[in-house]
Amino acid sequence: MYKGLERLDLDKRLLYVRNILIFSLSFLVVGLVYFQLIKADEYVGLASGNRLRMIRLLPPRGNIYDSSGVPLAVNVRTFDIKSYPMDLRLDEDFEGVASLFARHGIPMTPEGLREIVEKQYVAPYRAVSVATNLTLAQVSDLVMDPGFGQGLFPSPVWRRIYPGGSLMAHVIGYVGEITREDLETQRDPYYQGGDIVGKNGIEAVYEEQLRGTVGDQVVEVDSRGRRLRDVNYNDPLKGNDIKLTIDMATQREAARLLEGRRGALVAMDVNNGAVMAFFSSPAYDPNPLTWGISSKEWSALLGDSARPMLNRVMSGSYPPASTFKVVTAAAALMENVITVRTSFFCPGNFQLGPQNFRCWRRSGHGRESLIGALRDSCDVYFYQVSVKLGIDKLTKWAKDLGVGERTGIDLPGESRGNIAGREWKRSRHKEAWYQGDTVNYSIGQGFLLMTPLQIARTYAAFANGGRLVTPRLNAAKPPEWTDVKISKAHIDSIRAGLREVVRVGTGRVAGGYGVEVAGKTGTAQNQHRNDHAWFVGYAPANDPKYVVAVLIEEGGSGSSVAGPLVGQMLAYLDRHGK
């Protein structure tokens, strides 16, 4: 019969196990006797004089270059004065150091110093920067002072400068000290207080690539904080360089064209999305921001009524106005609502129930078909088309052409614009969508908003035969696009219309600069103010390479103000064979 375990004398073995488990613990007690009683004095001494200090060695960031190798963001050496929090504990310490700096013309108060130390604090034996951005002359002056010592030491550091100044501010962005919030929310514990991170632009988007690898140095010091010897040293590693698609000379031309105006200019390769000029006016100089500016200067910059910090190319949203007519046309053609020969009569206005919609030309255009309607920018033609098409089909094609979606450019803070439509109006205004809204929508007015970058991208899709490319600034980033699926014949019709615009239509002023341009004007209504002026065009008209979009805030009529700027920029790009 099965008896199992009961046949064994289990309890005898249990006794062994119990004795071993319990008496083996005495080994631990012996250990404690040795370390805590016999060797206690030695370890108390080691603990009170823990003499190891750590210094974090920040690496130089990777450089940023333009497409021809001109440096746009580089590093220069300056000096920091560092110290250890464990050597700065008493009020006298803070007062002594602050008065030392004050004696040598570096403004500092004990309270300010305490704040600086708190902000960077990690551990008492980890060095913090007490003063930053000192020149070699300032440092040698300080070191000679008999009051220098007591745990203070100079340390070379890298500072970021932007040789292009305000020219590239909206592209490159700037760097600055990491904030408390960023430190607390960072996923990988790479950063520490006092570290420099990209705050905007390319500097922020490619932070991980540019930042490099920090090094560290562990030193042993004596009881007065003087260094005795290096215990460990790991070199910091420089970050990776980045080369942009933009060329500095083209950018300078863009800045020249926009000088004295509030607006944006963006130029892009229609086939691969490489951005060739990207300028928002007015711009700001990023250099003071990286070296640290006072909160007064900062709020002055933010409060400026011309809004220099606003990146109008991709964060400014405006009604696209007549530049949107190509989208209405493409949607109507693809949905078979019209053909290229369908014509409507424009008497100068359009009556929809009780509502009267005017054409920009009061006297009317007479009978117009697609190419003529684009050429003359006839509003009534597109009113008629939109009523037949309906809002849902129109927004579907608008979405496919990039309206209401971020372009995906490698910069932070891009605006989505607003594609509006039925659902949007219901949730936002608690109102149904009326046919009158569709009529307004067809000529790019009403709730519709786009950024200059979005418009450039939409036109690039017509110019390159139907591919919606993703704009990119990093030359190493592979081109990306999606196929919009508009038939070749329809694209050709629209392009024929855009060519007529510049040849004989509303956009003649964009021609005559030495390259054949195709494009579209736009005049966006701006409540109580002067209208915003648009022009977007591509060249050469028969084999497009570049697209340029210009928006001038309160510029008035698109054709007279924005048209010549686009013409000149396209001519410049063509002439220099970029």
Partner: protein, 374 residues
Amino acid sequence: MLSESSYSWGEIRKGLDWPMLIAILALFALGLISIYSAGAGVRRSTAGYAVRQLVWGALSLLAYVAVLRIGYQNFLKQSYLIYALAFFMLCVLFMLGTTTRGALSWFRFGSVGFQPAEFGKAALVLFLSRFCHRYPPDVPKHMAGALALSGIMVIMILLQPDLGSALVYGSIIFAMITAAGAPGKYLGGLAAAGIAAMPFFWSSLKAYQKLRLVVFLDPYIDPQGAGYNVIQSRIAVGSGGLWGKGFLHGTQGRLHFLPEPHTDFIFSVFAEEFGFVGGVIVIVLFAFLFWRLLRAAFRTKDARGKLLCVGVSAWIWFQVMESVAMSMGLAPITGLPLPLFSYGGSSLLMEFFGLALVQSVAISPARDKFASIT
């Protein structure tokens, strides 16, 4: 099925080993104090760890009571299933686990992590209690079966790789088959085989693991790397002296010289602040706990219950030995938590679960008496 061997409140009250429970709660309370102290660094302070540990402690206590109500017999009935589940979880983890500190050892649900290796310890104890009872390892065939079936779990743990937990599993297996009657010559052979396998095992380790294993022999071969922890922990313990520096006055912990003060080096934090006296109190509390755990084994007539007590004791014992010895630099750094002490939800929960099974064994003889009266 459940009702016949589950326990009523009256039975639990009657049979509960109060001294055992009080020792457990005392150790948890001392751990909580240390976790609070470890979090309260100079100028960068957080009570977050202590609060979370308190919440986990409350949850664990609920689980403890639930286990007492259900009764260890019901867990033994399902032990093969539980063991298979633990094995399955380790396999899944091996395939898709999230990486923390170079080792695959966590399931993450939002901010809550779960370590299957901890669950596996309890599963292994339950499994071997039943298996060694049915197939006593005094014959080679049975012993080989026990070793093979428990060995695959150890291999999964080693694959993670989690050396510390694998050693815990090893000590559980060794203690349980010893108690279950494996002849001395087999046990000797097993120990010899283990020693013989060391060189193969060593060559399979990654460089950082090797370094962590040897630095305790001479921490000064790498004073700023792997040896740093050993040196700083030894300074913490040693500088505690006879009476310690007092609660919240440990400089090593508060000045951030100690790495991972709330988990791996929790005993160092405690020993720095409460000294030799405090350290000995903790060790005596653990010794008392082992005595009560094995007292339950002596008093039950159920051989499976006896083995279960041995398994849980061996599990807790190994982690105490390793964690305390490590804090003095007398054992390699393996990252094992000090039971009931270290911060960590899933390890605390599983320790309470294992200890509840033993408490349930302690309660069971009272029922037998109760039954004989009626």
